[in-house]
């Protein structure tokens, strides 16, 4: 049976109640009361993701976050030395242990507000001490969300606190929606700001930035991303789609079709970053806060569907049973005791693990000796870039779209137009690039060159493969600075007699 939810509650302004002023709409937008289902879902999902992140780093707490290790404070990069206090080794272990426990209690909603505040303070502080291996933009987003959760009543539903405090049959409490609204606006602001980043990068829309990011190996493996480099036009389309979506998100993601379209595109975008760029945690962090767009009407619809499913299934739903007040008090008091026990266990376990290996029976680790044959080349003068490293690729096709060659092929018919696109690698000087046609015996049939200015990324050569060229094997040879840097084999086949009789092409020059 669907819940009877007033239309004006938790709906954006202007939805069905006309004649109100802007001030009233804004007031309703932020202060309309609702059951904080969306915040509860964020409260459950986000800490689970952060738990994975922090559990991986728990054993390295001393090294990453303490004065007994190698901290890398973000503030140092901004020129603000010693901005945040750096804890000692044991205190850092205590902080990380506490953070891990509080993430669990936040996810289950036990002492929710204290857990949220603790998570926000500790997580932000520790991350700011390690910009090498902890602090990234997903940490920033998580910090923002933890702050908003700590200001909210996200533990009022679907939590241990709710189970302890509520009487059986009592409806869930309602609160003003402003924390959830701020979370939604945060997501919109993130995407809007990210769009500006792309607008500031001229090579984003030509597909070059993305294309080289797909070849970058600083995240996890992403074979699909490397495969996508074969299709730069597709990359370019994704680039435009991405920017349009990021700009429109904050305006369309509020209700109706716009909401589910924007959120679905967002989920697909973040899945794309996982598949094509190799980001693991960032997509999970951002999609976990998409639950902030869930409102009471959605939950009512889900409950109604679930109720129909259970009715058709023949099973009956039993109302939840409360627990005795005695046990409520006992569970509440267990929280500080549990934290204390966890801290003691954490410190003892970290000591026994001896992450540095200082207390090993054989003593501290020895430095790994390097082979001098491996090191000596590193100490030689670097020299200038080789001509072969100025050229990224030579692609052949029959059409140009968006400045990229498409319809890649290496076998052509007489009469075809062949676009040979030489992509160069920046930085490069102003240079002359040749793209010459050789026959099967490596004799030069045609010599063509272009000036490629330092700001250019591609040089295009057009060959009209008229019937003066006999069918057979040929090669396109790219030369720069007097050296051959690349060679692509192509095959030329004869076109049919019917095509030849209809052919009205003049014997044009082979290439421009």
């Amino acid at each position: 049976m669907a819940a009877n939810i007033p239309v004006s509650v938790s709906e954006p302004p202007g939805s069905g109640s006309g004649g109100r002023g802007l001030r009233a709409s804004i007031r309703d937008f932020f202060f309309a009361e609702e059951v904080p289902y969306g915040l509860a879902l964020v409260r459950i999902m986000l800490p689970l993701v952060l738990l994975y992140v922090m559990l991986r780093r728990w054993a390295y707490a001393r090294e990453f976050y303490s004065s007994d290790g190698a901290t890398a404070p973000l503030a140092d990069d901004y020129g603000f030395r010693n901005m945040l206090p750096v804890p000692s080794g044991t205190v850092a272990v205590i902080m990380v242990t506490l953070l891990v426990i509080l993430l669990v209690t936040l996810a289950i909603g036990w002492r929710t507000r204290i857990s949220a505040i603790g998570c926000f303070v500790i997580y932000t502080h520790l991350n700011m001490l390690d910009c090498l291996s902890s602090f990234t933009k997903y940490s920033v987003i998580a910090s923002h969300v933890l702050l908003l959760l700590s200001l909210s009543h996200c533990g009022a539903v679907w939590s241990v606190d709710a189970w302890l405090s509520r009487e059986p049959g009592q409806p869930p409490p309602r609160f003003a929606a402003w924390q959830r609204r701020l979370m939604q606006l945060l997501i919109g602001a993130i995407y809007f700001g990210a769009a500006f980043t792309k607008i500031h990068t001229p090579t984003f829309f030509s597909g070059d930035q993305l294309r080289f990011w797909l070849m970058t190996h600083i995240n996890h493996e992403h074979p699909w991303g490397e495969y996508l480099t074969l299709y730069p036009v597709v990359v370019m389309l994704f680039a435009y789609l991405c920017v349009v979506w990021e700009i429109l998100f904050v305006f369309l993601a509020w209700r109706g079709h716009g909401r589910w379209i924007m959120l679905t595109m967002g989920a697909m975008f973040h899945l794309g970053t996982r598949v094509f760029i190799g980001l693991y945690v960032f997509p999970f962090v951002t999609t976990s806060i998409y639950w902030a767009f869930v409102n009471e009407r959605d939950v009512a619809n889900w409950k109604a569907r679930l109720a129909r499913f259970r009715s058709s299934d023949g099973s009956k739903h039993r109302a939840g049973q409360g627990i005795s007040r005695l046990w409520q008090r006992r569970v509440s008091r267990a929280f500080p005791a549990m934290l204390l026990i966890a801290i003691v266990l954490g410190v003892e376990l970290e000591y026994r693990l001896d992450s540095y290996g200082i207390r090993r029976p054989e003593g501290p680790h020895e430095l790994v000796e390097l082979d001098p044959a491996q090191v000596e080349p590193m100490l030689q003068p670097a020299g200038t870039v080789r001509p072969v490293d100025l050229v990224h690729s030579l692609e052949t096709g029959t059409m140009l779209v968006g400045g990229h060659v498409v319809r890649h092929k290496s076998s052509f018919k007489q009469g075809d137009k062949l676009f040979a696109q030489c992509t160069v690698i920046p930085p490069h000087p102003d240079m002359v690039i040749e793209c010459n046609l050789h026959d099967a015996d490596d004799r030069v049939l045609d010599r063509v060159n272009q000036v490629v200015r330092r700001e250019a990324f591609r040089a295009n050569f057009l060959y009209v493969l008229h019937d003066a060229l006999a069918p057979g094997e040929y090669a396109l040879v790219v030369r720069c600075f007097g050296k051959e840097v690349m060679r692509r084999r192509i095959t030329l086949t004869a076109h049919s007699d019917a095509e030849q009789s209809a052919d009205e092409l003049e014997s044009a020059p082979v290439a421009n």
């Binding site: 003003a176 606006l185 602001a189 930035q209 070849m215 000796e369 003068p381 990224h392 692609e395 490069h428």
Partner: protein, 235 residues
Amino acid sequence: MGAIKRWLVSLVIGSYLGSLGYGIACHALDFNTSAHPSMYFVVWDMFCGWSAYSNRLHLVAEGESGRYYQVAPAPWTSFHPYGNLPRHQYDPFLNHTGTVIRNCLEKTRHEPIQRVLVIEEVWAKKYNLPDPIWSRFFDGPRERHSYFQVRQVVAPDGKLVRKFSPWLSRQSDLFVSVRPLPSFLDSDSMKLSPALQTTTRPFDPSAVGLPATVERKGSGTLFPPVDPQPAPLAQ
């Protein structure tokens, strides 16, 4: 909600949205984006740059015996924060190499270390393509060539002795320079002066008969705050 509480909440909302808006405005106008660490929380500049070259850092310690040792990743760790690379690879501005070096040398057994070299290895990203993709782009075999560039010389206590520009920046300068630039400093000329050499070691310089001649700035260390040798014009 009482009136006072609503005013406070409105203040929080206004402050929060104001900070987000400030970040977006600064980012759009390229103003104050690096003024304070707090800007990192409101400026959304993910994937703001790119390069056509991959790079890796090698932290190589040179002992008194002339042997070389790997300083990072440290022998006790195999932690990869975001993928398959160790932690020190995520230091693009090399602001934290000294700390990493100091910590590793403090926690390990080794002969006296003379100096630690931070070496950058750079190669064109096209060599990252897997074989099936490579064969679609290129007809010939893949022969990856790396360019190495010493970026920093660091003392065993983590103090920076000398630093050099990135290799890629040097190439960019060469490409646009009308006149030939000074030749790149090779490894031979990277040897420190005898006076400086003594100051890189954490023992009494009088033991080798070469008293330190550089001025102490009251830091309690013999290590000079400024390298008296002239830095190269460009790398």
